[in-house]
């Protein structure tokens, strides 16, 4: 055996100077995403640190927000819980609507109508949240208040539908805020679910139908189990959006530091993002730092939710391998 021919390295690298610059500049740009997330975290953390340090864990769990008191007490508990509650209500309302819509688009409509419906759902996603807020305050709130009244009248014995005083008028409640959030997250869940449904193995479904299953049993026993991962991911993406929603909730909810555990029709509640907007105008000094801390908490929560959501969605869509 003679000396083997020297092999060229098989890793393709940029050959020309132009290419080097091309890849180098795009690589710098791409890593800017990294830098941006880090910058947001660092800037907010630096500004929020004094408050986080002085308030300790009470910042998250306590329920007093009194910037005039000395020493100053800034606690976010009711707002955090309110965000979670509203997002949860929103998801409970939005998920059936979104999954039905996706099922309708993928399995029931003729192709042309399906396209039209997809466009309509995307249009819903493109509506600015301030417009939804405007509609929510002036059009939807009176309507939803009448729904809430009916709910309270007939299901009031269930604690979550009970109210302390029916004279309050059922406005500005977490129930209404949940509906508004639902309107905004339906398109997100629909588009993820639609994507998953349309990639399902058609043979599986046809097989189930051929075995004598009805559409309902096919949906429950074949379609849902095979696509549940993606649907859950879509719901989580919606959750991330719901937690960060600001302006629309600001209009339709009465924000109070008086914690509302789960009385959906009670006319007060909380939402971190809206609280930031509501307090921002009057805030100064330490309170502003407190709002920065609230923003930091919000960002960390959405980061975690989104990471989980994307992880699940990507795993549920193996055909989207890059």
């Amino acid at each position: 055996m003679s000396e083997p021919v020297q092999r060229r390295k098989l890793v393709a690298g940029p050959l020309s100077k132009g290419d080097k610059w091309f890849f180098r500049s795009t690589s710098i740009a791409a890593h800017f995403a990294f830098v941006l997330v880090a910058l947001v975290l660092v800037f907010l953390l630096v500004r929020a640190w004094p408050v986080l340090q002085s308030q300790g864990l009470g910042f998250i769990t306590g329920n007093t927000w009194s910037p005039d008191q000395k020493p100053i007490v800034l606690q976010l508990g009711p707002m955090l819980w309110g965000s979670i509650l509203i997002a949860f209500v929103g998801i409970l309302i939005a998920t059936p609507m979104a999954v039905s819509m996706a099922y309708l688009i993928v399995f029931m409509l003729p192709k042309r109508l399906a396209k039209a419906f997809t466009t309509l759902v995307d249009l819903l996603a493109a509506l600015p949240s301030v417009v939804i807020g405007l509609w929510g305050l002036l059009v939807f709130t009176p309507l939803a208040a009448s729904w809430a009244e009916v709910l309270n009248k007939y299901l009031g014995w269930i604690p979550i539908f009970g109210v302390s005083n029916a004279e309050n008028g059922f406005m500005s409640s977490p129930f209404i805020a949940g509906w508004i959030v639902a309107v905004m997250i339906v398109p997100i869940i629909t588009s993820v679910t639609r994507e998953i449904f349309s990639q399902l193995d058609k043979d599986l479904i046809n097989g189930a139908l051929a075995l004598g299953g009805s559409r309902l049993s096919t949906f429950r026993k074949v379609i849902l189990p095979t696509s549940s991962g993606g649907v859950v991911g879509g719901v989580l993406l919606g959750l991330g959006r719901a937690v960060g929603e600001t302006v629309a909730i600001f209009y339709v909810l009465n924000l109070t530091m008086d914690i509302n555990w789960a009385q959906l029709l009670e006319p007060h509640g909380g939402a971190v993002a809206s609280w930031i907007l509501a307090r921002f105008g009057e805030a100064s000094g330490t309170e502003k730092q407190g709002l920065m801390a609230a923003g930091l908490v919000l960002f960390v929560i959405t980061l975690i939710i989104n990471y989980l959501a994307n992880f699940i969605v990507n795993r549920a869509q193996p055909w989207r391998k890059n």
Partner: protein, 351 residues
């Protein structure tokens, strides 16, 4: 998808079946309407408590008569799907129609062109308008676009054209950014403003929109670049073109419409943003063409400010501005759709 449908010889019969069931499910409707009117029931209550169960029963009976036991399952699913989907559409149409109807009362040429100097919450709608807000929106969004689009495109190039190992990491962080709540983006820029003592202006507003637009552009542009057949690129490289020329002369023209869609969807994402602008810009009632100094109002912040007061003329102004904003968004969205259509034709041809 079309191919799969062509392989379903039973499909036509199925459409007929669903229609049958659906029409049958509407039989109780007149009955319920009659009962509601004569007994003065709450319409919502009678709809949810009377019509829906009756509809389910009627559809199930028809399904059972026509197709046996499996017809019942079909019927339940059809009714529930139509019900929930119709709800989504009703909500969407309610938003659109109320904005159009209420907004068209306020809107006029003078409302679109004039600015808001000398206008108080009770001034009649014959004076003042959203001209300054339209200009402000365009300027702020333009500034954001100038920064976010090239950067987003570069990210997309990196994700599709290079073979680097950090691509997944970059993708993860882009996704993380796309989940950034808009108010947090505002707070971030606010903390920069306070740290550096630069004045609040249209420019700082544009800065606050930047982290929101960037991930949208990057993600859609990446999808668009992925649709270009990789063979095209290989062919260009095999002919001896360096990567950057392969990109600019072959891939970029092929993905042009998709990249325009990325731009438009990015625009649609930020044009309606409110919270970050409230935190980072001072409102102004006069037309300002200088985004680097002084206050500026955009359409969303205009709506926000007028909705805060409960006077009727203020709310009318908010509706009018919402209609202008909606037209703007709809225009961008429609344009993106038309361009996106070209894209899908191309991708089909390439398959």
């Amino acid at each position: 998808m079309a191919k799969a449908l062509a392989n379903q010889p039973w499909r036509k019969a199925n459409v007929a079946r669903r229609l049958q069931i659906f029409v049958a499910s509407l039989i109780p409707l007149p009955l319920v309407v009659l009962i509601t009117i004569t007994a003065h029931l709450n319409p919502i209550l009678s709809f949810a408590g009377l019509f829906l169960p009756l509809q389910l029963i009627a559809a199930s009976v028809v399904g059972y008569l026509a197709y046996g036991r499996r017809g019942v399952g079909d019927a339940v699913l059809v009714v529930l799907t139509f019900f929930f989907s119709a709800f989504v559409l009703i909500l969407l149409l309610s938003v659109l129609s109320s904005v159009v109807i209420q907004g068209s009362r306020a809107i006029s040429w003078q409302f679109i062109s004039q600015n808001n100097v000398y206008v108080s919450p009770t001034t009649s709608l014959d004076y003042g308008g959203v001209g300054h807000a339209v200009v402000g929106t365009l300027l702020v969004v333009l500034l954001t676009t100038i920064a976010a689009v090239p950067l987003g495109l570069a990210m997309a190039i990196y994700l599709t054209q290079s073979q680097s190992k950090t691509r997944n990491l970059v993708r993860t962080f882009t996704q993380a950014l796309s989940g950034l709540p808009s108010v947090v983006s505002g707070l971030f820029i606010l903390s920069i403003i306070e740290a550096t003592h630069i004045g609040r202006s249209g420019f700082t507003g544009a800065l606050a929109l930047f982290p929101l637009m960037l991930p949208t552009v990057a993600r859609v542009a990446e999808e668009a670049l992925k649709l270009v057949p990789v063979d095209l690129r290989y062919a260009a490289l095999a002919l001896g073109a360096p990567n950057y020329r392969a990109f600019f002369q072959v891939i970029l023209p092929a993905a042009k419409s998709g990249l325009l869609t990325a731009l438009l969807l990015g625009l649609a994402r930020v044009v309606g943003e409110t919270a970050p602008l409230i935190l980072t810009m001072n409102p102004s009632s006069s037309t300002s063409l200088n985004p680097f100094n002084g206050g500026m109002t955009t359409l969303p912040t205009y709506i926000y400010n007028y909705l805060a007061s409960s006077y009727e003329t203020s709310q009318a102004r908010a509706w009018g501005a919402a209609l202008v904003l909606l037209i703007l968004v709809g225009f961008l969205f429609g344009l993106a759709r038309v361009l996106g259509k070209n894209k899908s034709i191309k991708s089909k041809a390439s398959k």
